[in-house]
Symmetry: C2
Subunit: 248 residues, 2 copies
DNA sequence: GCTCAAGAGTGAGCACCGCTCTTGATTCTT
DNA sequence: AAGAATCAAGAGCGGTGCTCACTCTTGAGC
């Protein structure tokens, strides 16, 4: 059993440095052209070596992407954690807002990294604005109409999730992942929804295909509010959306 | 001014048929291997022609993807519309549920098409389960902790979105897209949040990287409920989440 | 009916890609 | 000093999108 962190030999040090440089250049390319265009040959060119040499350090293109993804996850987690920790722990609203804003900021600053993590499909393709958004907003329009009907019938308050659904999620709490969580099933459910809503809001801003959004930042702030409303009681009485609805 | 839908000549008919076949084969490949692996050469091979011949019908690979996307949008809109229309128009909850379930069903049946529309980034890469999900769930864990803190302080009810945010969204209503919408800014805001939450719930189920989810369907049902609660008043008194929270 | 331009399909070729394998040089270990 | 491990290079395979010159066919206008 050797002492593992011996003074590294020349070889090992060189290797570590090359490995780091590969990741650095890869990240550069990623930031500029996106993951779809990430090419091992191009990276090798930038490093002044031949493409086959890269395979001493990287198993495959997918392997390289994996490392970049893990890296991005860490970067995101760190950024959000830092923003969160900078807030007075008793200021719950402030903490929620800090998390949301940090996530958004991080995503907007590195859309490709965000896409690497939370996106999924086609290379770096961007949908043209003509017929696609028209068809894409159709369901939204349908939803708006439904809402309008609801408004006509004065049925605009909060519906409680069905007991069945809440019960089903209770089973999730048995998972080891939630071992230390002591909140109940209902609050877990609301937390997941808040997380989904937050992530969805950021995603839609990063890959805007939501329709006409004149003020994306304001819209995000609103989504952040709504998402926060799923898990936080207001510190002081408010005249915002939920209150207005409940007094109607 | 020629009558445009003259009896098509043999040539035009042949062309239309070839065009349709290209799309058909492309859709097949897309369903099997995903958008990243979609290759014009492979499509040409399947069609028994040489790859360069495809360029008589398609400007480029991206052009083909565009057509597939538009197609997918239409297919999705049609499926959802159909499910929605099959419900009694006065049953608002039923309509909301129908929309949500139809969207989910469509997405789960054609994950690649869904990804084509609502996804974004890296080819068809799938993140390994080791360190990535650990880092990926870190923010969620942070959120859960915040919620726990909130529970400790008995602050678990709905926060109203800030008046500023609601006001900002009011500006959106000036956009031509919302010309026929007569609902107010606050309800529009809630509608958008509901839409975001619905889409996020489907996305997370299709590209599951959410952590341990023993019963995805139940979780979706819950998200659907929460999202619906943003826009619908319950038809009858309920003992679900929101109610429980408000009586606490 | 003939002509002739437009359309459809071919095949070669360019520049790129991921990835493998052999070969020779360098370094580390024993 | 000898042997083992590592590294970089180069050639090469099969694949990609896309272009271009080239035939052959077809159909519309005179």
């Amino acid at each position: 059993m050797a002492i593992t962190d011996q003074p590294l030999g020349k070889r090992a040090r060189q290797r570590a440095q090359t490995e780091a440089e590969i990741l650095r250049v890869a990240r550069e390319h990623l930031a500029i052209e996106g993951a779809a265009a990430l090419s091992l040959r191009a990276i090798a060119r930038d490093l002044g070596m031949v493409s086959s040499g890269l395979y001493r350090y990287v198993d495959s293109r997918d392997d390289l992407l994996t490392r970049l993804i893990v890296d991005s996850y860490r970067s995101l987690a760190a950024a959000v954690q830092a923003a969160h920790d900078a807030v007075d722990p008793t200021d719950l609203d402030g903490r929620w807002v800090a998390i949301g804003l940090a996530l958004r900021r991080w995503a907007l600053d590195r859309p490709h990294d965000f896409a690497l993590i939370y996106g999924s499909p086609v290379p770096d393709y961007e949908a043209p604005d003509e017929s696609t958004v028209e068809a894409g907003t159709q369901v939204l329009a349908l939803l708006l109409r439904l809402v309008q009907d609801a408004a006509d019938q004065h049925r605009l308050v909060l519906l409680a999730p069905s007991p069945e659904a809440a019960r089903a999620v209770g089973a999730m709490l048995d998972d080891p992942f939630f071992a230390e969580v002591t909140i109940g099933a209902t609050m877990l459910a609301r937390s997941l929804s808040a997380w989904t809503l937050l992530l969805g809001a950021v995603t839609s801003e990063v890959f805007l295909q939501l329709g006409p959004v004149p003020d994306a930042a304001a819209l995000f702030g609103l989504q952040l509010d709504v998402a926060g409303s799923l898990i936080l009681l207001p510190a002081q009485p408010s005249t915002g959306l939920s209150t207005a609805v409940f007094t109607a």
